[in-house]
Symmetry: C2
């Protein structure tokens, strides 16, 4: 019940279906209560408590107590990046939307969603492609903002100081199977889109839709037109 000191001990944290389900749920970037996670994972509350203790002790989760609630979230962006990298190795999920409700939800997720703290889905890929086409993002020599890209972000009033966190990082989309922008730049961009009302969350999940104002902003800033 202490911090993992070996690769095996660390991997063991994720080597349980229940704990893995909890971590993947937390990939939406929000803070969940212990009870919500228990219900989501389909285990008793007592079981969830023990799992959450192990995950926080292992440095994967951070907790915050409010009254009788215990809110828990991913410790930092690097944990989210790790989970994404691991998930990208799995065989592509065979989507089996059972029923109309699930099908529309799945389609909404494929259109646009948040991936921890940045944009993903077709929307995220479109933004990434537009940045690349405009010479703001370089994917030929690796994955980094160019000088022009850094200047562009500054012109937008977006601060890229994220401590030790990388400025730009490729995150592999599990629906598009193509990389999209993550890292500090991806997070700031997503934040901007949300605060300006260019994209709006659909319900309480991770799916987002582009607003009319967002459509105009995307066309204006990045020349993106056909976003659905």
């Amino acid at each position: 019940m202490t911090a993992p000191s070996s690769l095996a001990q660390f991997a063991a944290l994720l080597a349980d279906e229940t704990r893995a389900a909890m971590c993947l749920a937390l990939l939406d970037g929000r803070a969940w209560t212990a009870g919500e996670l228990a219900r989501h994972a389909g285990v008793a509350r007592s079981t969830a408590t023990q799992h959450l203790h192990r995950l926080t002790a292992g440095g994967l989760l951070a907790e915050e107590r409010q009254g009788r609630h215990r809110y828990v979230r991913l410790a930092d962006a690097s944990v989210a990046a790790l989970l994404e990298d691991l998930s990208a190795r799995l065989p592509p999920q065979v989507a089996r939307p059972a029923g109309l409700r699930a099908a529309t939800a799945s389609a909404a997720l494929a259109r646009g969603r948040t991936c921890y703290d940045h944009l993903a889905g077709r929307l995220g890929v479109a933004v990434t492609d537009a940045l690349t086409a405009r010479g703001l993002l370089d994917q030929a020599g690796g994955f980094a903002l160019t000088q022009a890209g850094l200047a562009w972000m500054a012109a937008q009033g977006l601060d890229l100081d994220g401590g030790k966190r990388p400025v730009a990082r490729a995150c592999l989309d599990w629906t598009e199977r193509r990389p999209h922008l993550a890292g500090v730049a991806g997070a700031r961009l997503c934040e901007r889109f949300l605060t300006r009302g260019w994209v709006a969350r659909i319900g309480s999940g991770r799916a987002v839709r582009v607003t009319p104002a967002g459509r105009a902003a995307l066309a204006d800033l990045l020349g993106i037109d056909g976003v659905d």
Copy 2:
């Protein structure tokens, strides 16, 4: 005994001390026989066989049979990258070189070594820093070769076509705690250094030393002088 279909199943492959020890040993980039790995991990041959089966079935390892030997190595560079990322999350290893022999070996590893297929240790960091100082590598906007960097690699006759593998990638050194160049560019560079005799392996391990010819080449190509 089949390919993992969930994050938990995948993580379980590394969640065992024996399997983890095997994977970390294979991080040297070479192919080991099943018996060597069994001895290295301190288990019976029969046990090693079963572990190796699981790891290959899980896509982490690739095997190659020669006569009565079964050679096994990491499946590809992305597996090595994953292991590095995971190891970087662990608390820094408290080096406890017991005895003079271990101390010199540890010092040699800190000076220079291979990390799967690229250079690491102080040597790897020095090369990375030199590339950055010369404007060939950009670490401000992410981690990527610049236009000049791509041209420089081409001028050296190094082909950067590695399929889907990223051209440049940051790999965190566990001794230096600083990033150094990995990815296709890092691999090609390391290959070049070895084939030209600029660096030579010390014994059969991962440690390398810079040869006199290498010293001259480093000074000439990248302006690196004080490499020990």
